[in-house]
């Protein structure tokens, strides 16, 4: 390895966006054809780079190590002797092909990102009106049936904030099952409010797949436990009717 190369690494230490970015850099640096990467050379330079990072005690993301092992794996496969009469499979599988595909794809997106950054960006290259409209205008603009612009992300963050303020985090464990159940619970309650009382059959409606039946049943059990609904039966094995627990 030559000195110039290592100087260069040392300067560029922090600028790589990941192992693929580093590999692209090495390929460009060595003026290598991306379709025919000399794996031994690139692997060595790659490992040299990791060495520098480690000796500088910088954090090294795990992905770099995974790539190191991938490179070495490819290298070892390329060192295997080629069979005298190569079969069809051997011909079509260059051990490097998957890596090349990945590199090309990454390169394409890197270029796309650069192109995006060249556009006239709001607040960097172009600016919109930031002055508020006079009060009398503003009023009429907002007294409409209000549009809301909130993202789930904000909702999650709000919930996350609450959780991190609490000691007992188990209380707030969420699982998908529970949420699916809640969908049905909301549905059941909505229909009970409208119809006053319903049979289990009626609750199921048209959708009678297995999952739906099970969830509806579970939802009812939950609602009864929560004392939100009551279930009545006129006779043994008779039809079960569901009522809201409290009229409102």
């Amino acid at each position: 390895m030559n000195e110039e190369l290592s100087t260069d690494y040392a300067i560029k230490l922090d600028v790589f966006e990941g192992p693929l970015d580093l590999l692209l850099y090495l390929i460009k640096k060595n003026e290598i054809d991306i379709y025919n990467i000399p794996v031994a050379l690139i692997t060595q330079q790659y490992l040299d780079y990791l060495n520098i990072i480690k000796s500088l005690n910088l954090d090294l993301a795990g992905e770099y190590l995974v790539m190191a092992s991938t490179l070495i794996h490819i290298k070892s496969r390329m060192l295997l002797p080629v069979p005298e009469e190569p079969s069809e499979e051997d011909m079509e599988e260059d051990p490097r092909s998957e890596l090349v595909r990945q590199l090309l794809e990454y390169q394409a997106f890197k270029e796309a990102a650069a192109k995006l950054a060249e556009r006239p960006l709001l607040e960097r290259d172009v600016f919109i009106r930031s002055a508020a409209l006079p009060e009398e205008m503003k009023k009429s603009l907002t007294d409409d049936d209000e549009l809301l612009e909130v993202s789930i992300f904000e909702l999650i963050e709000a919930f996350h904030n609450i959780v991190s303020r609490m000691d007992n985090k188990d209380l707030l464990e969420i699982d998908l099952e529970k949420l699916s159940l809640t969908d049905i619970i909301n549905d059941v309650m909505e229909r009970l409010t409208r119809e006053k009382n319903l049979t289990f059959e009626e609750l199921l409606g048209e959708r009678k797949d297995r999952r739906r039946i099970v969830y509806t049943f579970l939802a009812l059990l939950e609602l009864i436990k929560l004392k939100m609904v009551k279930a009545y039966q006129t006779a043994a094995f008779g039809v079960i009717r569901i009522f809201p627990a409290v009229e409102f």
Binding site: L65, M137, L141, L155, I174, M228, F248
Partner: protein, 217 residues
């Protein structure tokens, strides 16, 4: 240098408050004040001549674009262009209802630690939550749940589409800590990963590299 009138036009447009002449001069450092004033007058005159829908007005000691008064009737027809947002209190309350429903007010308050009457009312008005029913326990507390509009606003097909705790930790947790853990894990695991995935030949090479590495660091 760019056309001074155009620069002034952009400055007045982008300014948050009426832009005083002095400030324009300060930005156009080096340009004579009378020249700036001339360019500004030309700009104002241009909008007047064209009878455009907006004009540069001198207000509160500065210059600002405003729509023309006689067009106010049209502007007022333009409704709801700015989507509203939720207050942090409303957002937190909504989050609790969304994830913990069906839920009563006392339960929300025990999580948030404060009275939630106001945010609950706001959310009901905005039709993001609704009353599901009452609980058959003393006091008959009202039970809240989210609405269809809630799903629409948050672009969800169903409640089960809400991200879970684990996922939200993944998204919101500070990266720093995770990286450190991952790094440690990986350092320990190196040898194993390499040996598993690589033939004997090359693992020698790696061991060398790693050995060198250990000495260096």
């Amino acid at each position: 240098m760019d056309n001074i009138s155009a620069v002034i036009e952009a400055l007045i447009f982008a300014s948050e408050s009426p832009l005083p002449l002095e400030k324009i001069c300060a930005v156009l450092d080096g340009v004579d004040k009378t020249e700036v004033k001339d360019a500004l007058d030309k700009l104002i005159a241009g909008y007047e001549e064209r009878q455009s829908g907006i004009s540069v007005q001198e207000v509160a000691g500065g210059f600002q674009f405003r729509t023309r008064p006689h067009l106010a009737v049209w502007v007022k027809r333009l409704k709801g262009t700015k989507p509203g947002s939720l207050t942090p209190a409303a957002l937190e309350t909504l989050a609790i209802v969304a994830y913990r429903q069906p839920i009563v007010k006392a339960e929300i308050e025990s999580v948030r630690g404060v009275d939630v009457s106001a945010p609950l009312k706001g959310l009901l008005e905005k039709k993001l939550i609704r009353i599901l029913g009452r609980k058959d326990v003393p006091g008959k507390p009202i039970i809240y749940g989210t609405t269809k509009k809630f799903l629409e606003v948050f672009n969800l097909k169903e409640l089960a589409d809400l991200p879970t705790m684990r996922e939200l930790t993944e998204i919101t947790e500070q990266q720093g800590m995770l990286d450190l853990e991952a790094a440690e894990e990986n350092t320990g695991g190196q040898e194993t990963i390499l040996q598993e995935s690589i033939g004997e030949e090359s693992s020698e090479v790696i061991s060398e590299v790693i050995a060198e590495d250990d000495i260096d660091s």
